[in-house]
Amino acid sequence: MIALLRSDAYRVLHSRWIWGVVAIVTFLLFAPALMMRWTSMGPVFYDDLTSSALAMTGVQMLAAAMACIVCCDRTDIGFSRSILSSFCERGRTVWFAEKCVFSLALAAVLIVFTFVVGLLALLVSGVPVANPEPAWQVAAWLGCMWLCAAPYVALTVLVAHLTRSEGVTIGFAVLSSGGLLEGGIVIGIDALCYLAGGHFLDFSSAVAPWLPSQIAGIVGQGAAALLSTDNAEHLSAAVRALVVCLPLTVAVTAADALLVSRRDVA
């Protein structure tokens, strides 16, 4: 596994797209900060770090898209074939699991990188933060951001391995991490419940607090909202993220390793 992770890290670091992502993220974070500094048109101060100062929306979607690129390099199937032919059966299972693990690690690196660049951009903008959260809250917030991205990343890898289609996988990555797929499925089940004689939206109102996209929405509101238990379930979004996203990610990774590895590679 470690050897495979090193190999993928080498492959990604020597690709151009990763530096494209770095450049885009840096530009998107620094451009508004520089504008604020030069034009003095920004806010007088930010309330806190996680809800207002650091804009990290869209990180889940970017992480899923990166997982798609990692698993769907246009000629990757041939390269994978070359590597997989050098592995025995168990090695192939590990190879599939490693793709999930690497994509999840890449998502973590992306989140940390975005956070660090965001902090630097905040310093450049010169806008003060009135009540910065303690470090543990910021760490919990970053951890939950990764937890919310994890199921989408793992599902994207699974779809990539199942379909072997870049188009389908990138479509899935965008739709799922944007919450559209979940919303569509839930509304579809609602419609079926209604047709079966139930009440429309009963299902969606029951499951909504547990949907990864909903939890991700709360993470976007900052560390305070994330850790708050002031809701109908009396459970913080952080706990719900642990209960929902972690098992889902593990299950998808296991399915990818144990089931997809049993298919013909090509």
Partner: protein, 309 residues
């Protein structure tokens, strides 16, 4: 020891039977030429052998080990494969491709290994161009280098001569022979380039419509193709009658252009018979049966047999 032994190996894709009950053996040290038309099941057979595709029925026993296929204690197979297209990452350099695979195989000194292999296949380790700028032949060479990573004991090469210019073809051919002779690597090559295959292979297998129609050694191939003597006479009818009397062991066949093809006797015997009978000779040459023609016959034979399936 047999490096590859397949027993009733079968692969069915929905309605298409790609490989049908295939029994083949490749002994250690063989360079096995695997010949067949497009879609005859060559690549599918190779994919099943190296574990990239699962057989619908039957099994492929590698290195005499039905359980682990002779895998190393580290869990690596002893196979290097170049199947269908050269599996290269186009956005990386050739060296980066090799280092990425070497790291995946847990090799130390991955850079040194990559440089050595690039040299072996005739690519420049200091070439910083990305692989997408390479010609098909260069990609093919890189694919071969990737297959050679990890010093495999068995190489499976699917159309390794595709897209290579004559110089590169020769270089790859010589590299394969050297690997076989000096390092004892068993090689299985499928190729349409029969003259190249004939120069390297020590055994042949012919697959047609998913079934192995013939297996023979290089010596058997040349015996079967055999040599014949082509003789053009001033008076063909009279000359044929005289030669038939003088050479009772020989078989004669008339060519459309009036020449006679004599088989079963040596050139010297035909020459002596012509001289002793006083037959006037205008042309006397030794000719080999075209190996390509022989393979086409074998491939066609399988198709006729398979028509009833």
């Amino acid at each position: 020891m047999n490096v590859i032994e397949t027993h009733g190996l079968t692969k069915r894709y929905r309605r298409k039977l790609a490989v049908d009950n295939l029994d083949m053996t490749v002994a250690a040290g063989d360079i096995y030429g695997f010949v067949g038309k497009n879609g005859s099941g060559k690549s599918t057979t190779m994919k099943m052998i190296c574990g990239l595709a699962r057989p619908t029925a039957g099994e492929a026993v590698l290195f005499g080990d039905p359980q682990n296929g002779g895998a190393t204690p580290q869990g690596f197979s002893r196979i290097g494969a170049l199947i269908e297209s050269p599996g290269v990452l186009a956005s990386l350099t050739a060296r980066d491709n090799l280092v990425a695979k070497a790291l995946a195989l847990g090799m130390t000194h991955a850079g040194q290994v990559a440089d050595d292999l690039l040299g072996l296949v005739g690519l420049d380790p200091t070439d910083h161009r990305r692989v997408k700028a390479y010609s098909l032949g260069m990609k093919q060479r890189l694919g071969l280098a990737l297959a050679l990573l990890g010093s495999p004991d068995l190489l499976l090469l699917d159309e390794p001569f595709n897209g290579l210019d004559p110089e590169a073809t020769r270089a790859v051919r010589l590299a394969l022979v050297r690997l076989n002779h000096e390092h004892g690597v068993t090689i299985m090559i499928s190729s349409h380039v029969l003259d190249q295959l004939d120069r390297v292979a020590t055994r042949f297998g012919v697959i047609s419509d998913g079934r192995l129609t013939a297996e023979f050694t290089d010596e058997e191939l040349h015996e079967r193709c055999g040599s014949s003597v082509r003789v053009r006479l001033a008076q063909p009818e009279r000359g044929l009658a005289l030669l038939e009397q003088a050479l009772p062991r020989a078989a004669f066949r008339a060519e459309p252009d009036g020449a006679l093809v004599v088989t079963g006797v040596a050139l010297e015997e035909v020459s002596a018979a012509c001289f002793s009978t006083g037959v006037e000779v205008r042309e006397l040459t030794q000719q080999e049966r075209d190996i390509e023609e022989y393979f086409v016959e074998l491939m066609g034979a399988g198709e006729k047999d398979g028509g009833a399936r």
